[in-house]
């Protein structure tokens, strides 16, 4: 398995995957947090009640 890892490390720029993964992940969650926190209460209330009000 060690040998295999070395082959991967030899691929030029393979470390970009680790960095990109982390950046994508952080961006997504920060963005998501902002998104959700900015939701207005009326909309949330309306959506919440959809299954109950629908027949």
């Amino acid at each position: 398995m060690k040998g295999f890892t070395e082959y991967l490390l030899n691929i030029s720029g393979i470390d970009i995957y680790a960095i990109a993964s982390m950046l994508i992940f952080i961006t997504l969650f920060v963005g998501l947090g902002i998104w959700v926190s900015r939701k207005d209460a009326r909309y949330i209330d309306e959506m919440k009640n959809l299954p109950i009000s629908s027949n």
């Binding site: 398995m1 295999f4 890892t5 995957y17 299954p51």
Partner: protein, 717 residues
Amino acid sequence: MEQQQFSYDNKIVKYFAIATIFWGVIGMVVGLLVALQFSFPALNFGLPFTTFGRIRPIHTNAVIFAFVGNGIFTGVYYSMQRLLKTRMFSDILSKLHFWGWQTIILLAAVTLALGYTVGKEYAELEWPIDILIAVVWLIFGANLLGTIAVRRVKHMYVAIWFFIASFVTVALLHVVNSIEIPVSFWKSYTVYAGVQDALVQWWYGHNAVAFFLTTPYLGLMYYFLPKVANRPIYSYKLSILHFWSLIFLYIWAGPHHLLYQALPDWAQSLGTVFSIMLWAPSWGGMVNGLLTLRGAWDKVRDSAVLKFFVVAITAYGMSTFEGPLLSIKSINAISHFTDWTIAHAHIGALAWNGFLTFGMLYWLFPTLFRTKLYSEKLANAHFWIGTLGILLYAVPLYWAAFTQTLMWKEFTKEGVLAYPNFLETVTQIMPMYHTRILGGILYLTGVILMVYNIVKTVKTGKFVDNEAASAPALALVTVSRETGESGHRWLERRYVRFTLLVVVAVAIGGLVQIIPMLVVKSNIPTISSVKPYTPLELQGRDIYVREGCYLCHSQMVRPFRSETERYGEYSKSGEFVYDHPFQWGSKRTGPDLAREGVVGGKMYKTAAWHFNHMNQPQSTSPGSIMPSYKWLISDNLDINSTPAKIRVMITLGVPYEKDYDTKAIADLMKQANEIAADLKANGITVEPQKEIIAVIAYLQKLGRDISQNPASNAVKN
């Protein structure tokens, strides 16, 4: 606003609901048979069609795609219409979807029994059925998205997001994992080989659990739980977080099924890290479900439906706690290849999928038939019997897993394996297998009570095919964002864009995993002594795949002392470059076979041993629970298929010499005659064209190449 009159299509919901129950019973009966076969090998009946290796995929396919699949569609067709205040987009598409899906299930049952299989777990079906699945899935998708397009509600409720994500991702997974080159109408080879195939397969396998068994059912939870409890979901904001983080993270975690196996470390680490991160959204979802019932727990006492939901959601929490746990390398080293995996899968299937389905059906049938449930008492009895069944199923298997794994790893003071005979570790856990049967019987008994209860309910009610409804027409939706409208709200209105965003979210994780594997293809360290299979070995391998040997035997020696002592040298990625498909397996009911062909090795067996073992396993291994494979001795090998198989292998890049397909049969017969002569020398007379000869050739090839000439084993690019 103009009030519009329309009707809900209840008939299609009823159809899917009946199919759910029908296939559920069948899938569970077959499951019970599988469990019985462990305790009583005679129940393999000595027939190819009823032997474990073929029955087990029928069980898994029936439960996943027939029972849970129809369960998904029941819930989707019921809730979509109500949440969007519209009839399904097209009745014709609904019918095509229903009958198409049932046809696929029937074809699957028949072809799997006949041994037509690709040999990849949960993706066994051969290429013509794969194409049919893709077509029917697209029909479902068209109906789903079409219904959203003709809706009378401005925004999509969160349940529908889960449905969209499920549709999109399952389509992607199915197509990528099923790329095969046909040899004949019922035989194909996957285009991926070895490590790549393993990675693609478990990217699929893991995400099939995610996007077939989890996300659509979360959609059902977000609809039916509030509906039945008659109170809104605890936190809608949490459900938004749950959705996006779950679909984004899930897809990265596939490699956790291949820890300590011949897979690059970075992929294993990626799988582990993202699996652990999955804890957060999964538990967010569970908490959201359970807290919906805050202040209403008295309702749970009175309602069997809510009881089923509570246990289902709790089991979702338990399963998604256990999943990341199992993907921690040190825990996986203990759990992998044992019954722990089986127990884990059944907590998900029996409790999360099963109980959520039962709750939904107990609510849906009286609602559709405008009556009351025939007997709440019987439903409660079902709940308790089912719960006990789950415990009696899972607990013995956890026990079996710990016992067996500890036995595998135990060394004596002298430093040798305490239990060198694999079979000892199986006979030790037989009582656990017997107890598990009881769990299965109880669970099935509960389901039979449900069938009776529902039949009685239906008889007292009156079904309406088209339920009248009315809703205000939806005002023309503007394309651009309205003033004061947040980004996400706008996105929910624009469902095509929403769908595309879902594609992007799942594609990122998929690509991060897949691209380096494609890049690495040319970098897989080849081992010069590893040669392509001879025609006879290739035919033998196909029989190995056909009989589902990989369901009990792995071909992957992990780099642990306990494994190298038992089996031999640990497996390297370069050994599998000609394996279409890979056959690493995921469970060891029998020993690993990766070093079966190493002459002088710990696992090596003679041709005569293999012959006797296949004929009557107990003759060579007393107490073995392996079924007999007598028909391999009497059936002739389909020798004429050899040239076509070689041609496909050449297309896939396996380095046979030019025009080798024309010489393949001669080579096959030459090798077959040698093995027949070897058997004859040991007092066994068998014609060289019998299937058993090919299987022996294949088993004696396993691991032989890397053991033959250690000097030439230098890793090369």
